[in-house]
Amino acid sequence: MIEFRSISKTFPDGTTAVDDFSLQLPSHQTTVFVGSSGCGKTTLLRMINRMVDASSGELEIDGENISTIEPVKLRRRIGYVMQNSGLLPHRRVIDNIATVPRLNGVPKKEAHARALELMDTVGLDRSMAERYPAQLSGGQQQRVGVARGLAVDPNILLMDEPFGAVDPIVRADLQQELLRLQRELDKTVVFVTHDIDEAFLLGDQVVILEKGARIAQKGSPEEILANPASDFVASFIGADRGKRALSIREVDGSSILVDGDGNVAGALTEEGTA
C-alpha cells in the first residue's frame, strides 16, 4: 500500500503544486489520478519514486517512509512509464528493456532473455528486439516503455499519461492490453491522465483532482458516476452536459443511445451478444 500523509509541495518559484494531500492507494489495484493540466497530478506521481521530494508530510510504501530510502535504490524497484516512452534513442529495444536489470548487475545474457519474455508479455514481436526506438511506431514504443517498466518485476508501476501521445485507436488497444496485463500481473498501478474516460476504464480507484491537487472526489467509477460530489466533478465527468445521461431512441427498429445533447453515443444490444 502507498500512503500519502498531509503531503505538500511548494516549488522554489513559489507555486504550490500540492496542498496538504492525504490518500491511501491499495495494493494490487489501479489508482488513477485525473485532472486538468497543472492540477499537480504528475507531481503526486513523481513523489512516489522521489523524482520530486515533498516539502512537508510523509509518504509511505508498505509502512516504510520513503524519505529514508535512497532515491536511486527506490526508483530501481519501481516501474515508471511515461508519455512518449522516454526510451534511450541510442539503444536497441532489447537493451532499453534490459536497462534497469543491467544497472542492478544482472548478467547481460540473463537480462536479455528476460527482456525477450517481457516483449511477449506486452505483445511485441521478438523480431523487433534489434530495432532502435525510432524505427518503431508510437504504439510499439509505448509497449517497449511498459516492458521496461516491468523489467525488474516491480510491485509498483507508475504511469504518467503513457498513452497520451498515440492516436485514439492505438490508445484503445493499449488500454485493453493494460487491463489484461493487470489481470495477469496484479501490480499496484498508479496512473495519471487528463482523460476521464481513460480514468473510468482503467481505475479501480479514481481520484479527481482540482488545482493544488485538492481531491474533488475519490471512489470507484461507479460511485463517482452515481453521485458526483460537486458541480466541478459533475462538469468534469460530463454529467452536467448530459453526456453521461444516456437515453434510448428507436431508429429503424434498433435502439440507439443518445446523450443529453442529442448526439449519438452508441447502440443498445442485448447483453452477451455485444
Partner: protein, 262 residues
C-alpha cells in the same frame, strides 16, 4: 628560380595563373625543401605540435566544464556570454600581446595559452549544447529508472551529445590551425613561416606553395572531424533521423557558428 612579387601578378589570369601555381607546386615538390632545417616536414610538425598541444589543454578544461554546465543546467548564461564575448577578441593581437607580457623567453607557452583561450569557447559550446539538445524526457526517464547522475551522464548524455561535442572540437581545431599559421610572426615557425619569409623576399612560389599546404592540412583535419562526427551519431539516432534536409544538420551548425576562422 622564378620570383615574382605580388604586384607582378596583375591582370593576366590565363597563363600567368597557371605558371604561378606551377611554380608553387614545383616549390612544394622540390626535394631541397623536404630536408634540413626549416623543411616542409618540420614546418608541418610545428604546425601540428601547436595545434594538438592547444587542443589537448583546451579539451581537458572545456569538455568536463561543458558537461557540468550541460548536466546541471547551471552557469549556462555565463558560458554563453563568455563564448560570445570571446569571439570578439582578435587572436592575432592576443598572440603579440601575451608574448610581450610574458617575455620572449616564454613565447611558446604564452602562444599556447592564447591558442587555448581561443579553443575553449567552441569546445565548451559543443559540450554543453550537446547535452542541452537531448530530449529532456529521455533524461527524465533515465532518472526515473534509477540511474545515478553519473550513469545518466555517461550512459545517456555523453553518447547522445557526442556529435555536437565533436562539432565543437572541429570548429576549435579550425580556428587553432588558422591561428598557428600566424605564430611565424613571433619567430615560432610552423607553416606560416614560409609566407612571412616569402612576403619579405617577394618569392611568390614559396608563399603560394605554403598557402596550398596550409589549405590542404586544414581541409584534411576538417575531413577527419567530419568523419568522426558522422560516426559519433549513435546508430539509433541515425536510424530515426527524418530524411528531411531541414533537420539534418541544423544542430551542428550552432557550434560551427560559435567560432570563426582566424
Amino acid at each position: 628560380m622564378d620570383t615574382r612579387d605580388g604586384d607582378g601578378a596583375d591582370g593576366a589570369a590565363g597563363s600567368g595563373l597557371v605558371n604561378l601555381f606551377f611554380d608553387a607546386f614545383a616549390w612544394i615538390l622540390d626535394p631541397a625543401n623536404w630536408e634540413g632545417r626549416g623543411s616542409i616536414p618540420q614546418r608541418i610538425g610545428e604546425q601540428l605540435y601547436f595545434t594538438f598541444a592547444a587542443m589537448a589543454v583546451a579539451s581537458a578544461i572545456a569538455v568536463p566544464l561543458g558537461w557540468l554546465i550541460g548536466h546541471t543546467g547551471r552557469g549556462r548564461d555565463i558560458a554563453v556570454a563568455i563564448t560570445g564575448a570571446a569571439r570578439a577578441l582578435p587572436s592575432f593581437g592576443l598572440l603579440f600581446l601575451f608574448v610581450m607580457i610574458a617575455g620572449v623567453l616564454l613565447r611558446e607557452p604564452s602562444t599556447i595559452f592564447v591558442l587555448v583561450l581561443l579553443a575553449i569557447p567552441p569546445i565548451l559550446a559543443g559540450a554543453y549544447s550537446g547535452l542541452e539538445v537531448i530530449d529532456r524526457r529521455v533524461v527524465d526517464a533515465a532518472r526515473a529508472m534509477g540511474m545515478t547522475e553519473w550513469q545518466i551522464l555517461w550512459k545517456v548524455e555523453v553518447p547522445l551529445g557526442l556529435p555536437l561535442l565533436i562539432g565543437g572540437l572541429r570548429s576549435a581545431t579550425l580556428q587553432v590551425v588558422a591561428t598557428v599559421v600566424l605564430v611565424a610572426f613571433l619567430g615560432l615557425g610552423a607553416l606560416g613561416f614560409e609566407i612571412v619569409q616569402g612576403i619579405a623576399l617577394r618569392s611568390y612560389d614559396q608563399m603560394l606553395g605554403s598557402a596550398i599546404l596550409i589549405i590542404v592540412l586544414a581541409l584534411l583535419l576538417d575531413a577527419i572531424f567530419a568523419i568522426l562526427e558522422r560516426f559519433a551519431v549513435p546508430r539509433g539516432v541515425r536510424a530515426g533521423r527524418i530524411p528531411d534536409v531541414r533537420t539534418a544538420s541544423s544542430g551542428r551548425r550552432a557550434t560551427a557558428e560559435a567560432s570563426a576562422t582566424t
